[in-house]
């Protein structure tokens, strides 16, 4: 009964989405305030209905209702509770419902937090979101109903893919989808602006915090996915340029361009068309990612079970959403006036360069991802484009971007002086050069790429710090340095934190790709192996049993300089209900390095307590990769909470707290 209720709520939500997607938009167009006023209640109703529907599906998983096909295919009576809940989004149907849930929550948040916006604008934004939601809900109902029954019920479920039985699955997809779907808000703001013709600084100011929020989620989601791949897949890599990873990375690159371009539009009124186009593109790429993952046109480790019917539906949806918005853009954009002029050297021109580089980067990723499809479509054979392509393209595109990242924040709007910037930054650059030349030697070997990576990281860190210090000095007045530092606006602090986050990330990438050590070796109990100064002693392998798997568990001692550090217990698991074996690596994480051991396979299958093929890794600074991402997200959060986005809200409601203490 409960699954039927969930299904029914979904159908109702579709109707509500249709109302939300039509009446408020028409009302805003024809000035019918009664219809405009429908937007908020409809968005709220949609959020409630979808939340209820999602809760029904979760309930089916929690009580293991195997009379629901989707549950029978993705769960099992032995599956621990937290994974039964996470299994709700472990397959195609449920993850779409999660996507929808996020979309309805974003719409709800806009409905709640938009008191300072004109009613017609709210109606247009929510109406656009309603149309997108309507398309997705139709997609779920027609091709991917998660509540479909299986009669007679299965005795037991097929189980969740063991790769997904992990903490990573619990949080990675929700974060990622929050980001993907969050760009729909920026998109809706852009469409609303195009519809109303009100493309101005106010529009940019409204959409900035929303875009920033989506970007923060997407950053965290991608970082989480990368971390998960690193420790769960047991391959020791953190990014594989897999089509599905690329599908999430392209919206991130465009989203990053968008948050910078929005800054120009807000401050200077320039780049308006460009900003709108980026907002449309960021969401379009999110949709394209969905298409690529779920239609089966590309092969990938992540690909869901595919179905051409779904592919055709998403493609039609893609054409409807993106095609319409691009047509709207092409129709309206020429009427948008130009913003303030700017000089060849200015904050604007630097941000323009930043945008061009990010868009070029996204385009190269898109090309690499779709190239196999293109070649196949031309009948020229099947090919794959590997990581070397992306690495070869990315380094040259990112280097100037990082260099500009140091300079840009020092440039004045409108017209800046190169001489002045160079004078300010010469010592920072000199110090970064010293780091780049010296540090690789300390670590053992000097290569141009290592030096370049460290140069850029040091440069960005020093320049960002200097930028912050300089501004605090200029604005401190009579205050102490610390209290002046704490009073800087969130967006300024956030920018520098995020830039330093990039630098930290670059350190991680550079160090791990330059100095990691890896060894695949056969080991018998009692033997040891030395990697990068660490001694791994293989004691034994014993059989252990988990809640829903058997495992061979290795027992290793990790020691450095003859001093025992810790035990390491990698596992090779065999899950009862699916035939997939799974490697669980043992990782000793640290600030400056991870060491990592995983079991390959027993050399003699009949003697699992004898010799094993073992993989051992030493990965310097690898955790800085995700640490950098966290800093970026923190920077985004600070910028999002900047008090100027709340100014109008506060004038309409009496101020309760002093302005300073509201700062996050």
């Amino acid at each position: 009964m409960i699954p039927e209720l969930g299904h029914f709520a979904l159908i109702l939500a579709t109707l509500v989405a249709l109302i939300l997607g039509t009446l408020p938009l028409l009302g805003a167009h024809q000035n019918r305030m009664a219809w405009v006023a429908l937007a908020r209640p409809a968005a709220t109703a949609m959020a409630l209905l979808i939340t209820f529907s999602f809760a029904c599906l979760t309930q089916a998983f929690v009580v293991s209702d195997f009379s629901v096909v989707y549950v029978a295919q993705h769960s099992n009576s032995l599956l621990p509770l937290q994974y039964r809940v996470a299994a709700v989004w472990g397959g195609h149907e449920g993850s779409l419902l999660l996507w929808m849930l996020m979309l309805s929550w974003w719409a709800f948040a806009v409905a709640m937090l938009s008191r300072q916006l004109p009613e017609a604008m709210v109606a247009r934004v929510l109406g656009t979101l309603g149309l997108v939601a309507f398309g997705f809900l139709l997609f779920i109902l027609i091709t991917s109903n998660p509540f479909e029954r299986l009669l007679p019920a299965a005795a037991d479920g097929k189980d969740l893919n063991p790769l997904l039985q992990d903490f990573g699955l619990i949080i990675h997809p929700p974060l990622l989808y929050m980001g993907y779907v969050g760009f729909s808000v920026a998109f809706a703001f852009a469409i609303a602006a195009l519809l109303s013709g009100q493309l101005d600084a106010a529009w940019a100011r409204w959409s900035r915090p929303w875009t920033m929020a989506a970007w923060v989620f997407l950053t965290l989601g991608i970082a989480m996915g990368s971390w998960w791949a690193y420790y769960e897949l047991g391959w020791g890599g953190w990014w594989f340029w897999d089509p599905v990873e690329n599908a999430s990375f392209m919206p991130w690159l465009i989203g990053t361009a968008l948050i910078h371009s929005l800054a120009v539009t807000e401050k200077r009124g320039s780049f308006k068309n460009w900003t709108v186009l980026l907002a449309i593109s960021a969401f379009s790429l999110s949709l394209l990612g969905t298409f690529l993952v779920r239609s089966g046109v590309l092969t990938s480790v992540h690909a869901f079970a595919t179905d051409p019917q779904r592919g055709i539906f998403i493609l039609i949806f893609l054409v409807a959403v993106i095609g319409t918005s691009l047509a709207l853009f092409a129709w309206r954009a020429p009427k948008v006036g130009l913003g303030g002029r700017f000089g060849l050297v200015s904050r604007e021109s630097m941000l323009l360069t930043n945008n061009v580089l990010l868009v070029v980067a996204a385009a190269t990723v898109l090309l690499g991802t779709l190239y196999p499809l293109l070649i196949d479509a031309l009948g020229a054979g099947k090919i794959s484009v590997g990581p070397p392509y992306f690495n070869a393209v990315f380094v040259p595109v990112m280097t100037p971007l990082l260099f500009m990242m140091g300079i840009g924040p020092f440039a004045r709007w409108k017209e800046a002086s190169i001489g002045e910037i160079l004078r300010t930054l010469r010592w920072a650059f000199a110090a970064a050069m010293i780091v780049a030349i010296a540090l690789p030697f300390i670590y053992g070997s000097w290569t141009p790429l290592t030096a370049l990576g460290l140069l850029m990281a040091a440069w960005v860190t020093l320049a960002s710090t200097l930028n912050f210090v300089q501004r605090v000095r200029h604005t401190r007045g009579g205050q102490s340095f610390l209290s002046a530092a704490l009073r800087q606006p969130g967006s300024f602090v956030g920018m520098n934190v995020a830039h330093i986050g990039i630098a930290v990330f670059v350190v991680g990438v550079t160090m791990v790709s330059s100095f990691q050590e890896e060894l695949d070796i056969k080991m018998a109990p009692g033997e040891h192996v030395d990697v990068a100064g660490y001694r791994f002693t293989f004691n034994s392998v014993k059989a252990v049993e988990g809640p829903n798997y058997f495992a061979a568990q290795g027992d290793f001692d990790l020691a450095v300089n003859g001093k025992f550090l810790r035990k390491m217990n990698p596992e090779k698991r065999n899950y009862h209900s699916s035939q997939m074996p799974m490697t669980e690596a043992a990782i000793d994480a640290g600030l400056l390095r991870d060491v990592y051991v995983s079991l390959g396979e027993a050399i003699d299958r009949d003697n699992p307590e004898g010799e094993w093929a073992v993989r051992v890794y030493y990965k310097p600074f690898v955790d800085w990769i995700w640490g950098g991402c966290l800093l970026m997200a923190l920077g985004g959060l600070l910028a999002m909470l900047d008090r100027r986005y709340r100014v109008k809200a506060r004038t309409s409601s009496p101020v309760k707290t002093p302005a300073g203490t509201q700062q996050a």
Binding site: T299, K382, E611, A613
Partner: protein
Amino acid sequence: MKSRHKKLALIGGALAVIGIIAALVLNALNSNIALYISPTDVAEGKAPQGKVFRIGGLVKEGSLQRQADGVTIAFVVTDTAKDITVNYKGILPDLFKEGKGVVAQGKMTGAGTFTASEVLAKHDENYMPPEAAQAVSDAQARGAGNKAGEAPGDDKMKTGY
């Protein structure tokens, strides 16, 4: 007109940058793509010499052999028509199994031997890497086609449901 000069400079600069990037991308694409080739193609001498490519098919039952060092491995990949021996040093992926689909990336080294730098396997009963599935179905089409005296088909089979 000063602003026209500025515009020209900007456009020129942009074109130069786009040109550099295009050259970079094309060069990277050219040297970093791996063509997919089936064991039958290899047997017919269609494999590029000294260039990285991918082969796909099924791992022949009972063909997995391990050298004394424990991590140098050889196995036979078949598309049910022709076989090819693959050498690989390292740990095999979790899902690697005899009788199952596999895709290996690497180069030809010596007659009929392929040395893989990377071995990919992803499957459960409902899945085989598409390249592997295609190799097998192509080979079957040829086999069946020969019997029936028809030209080989080029159907593709996509799996997973």
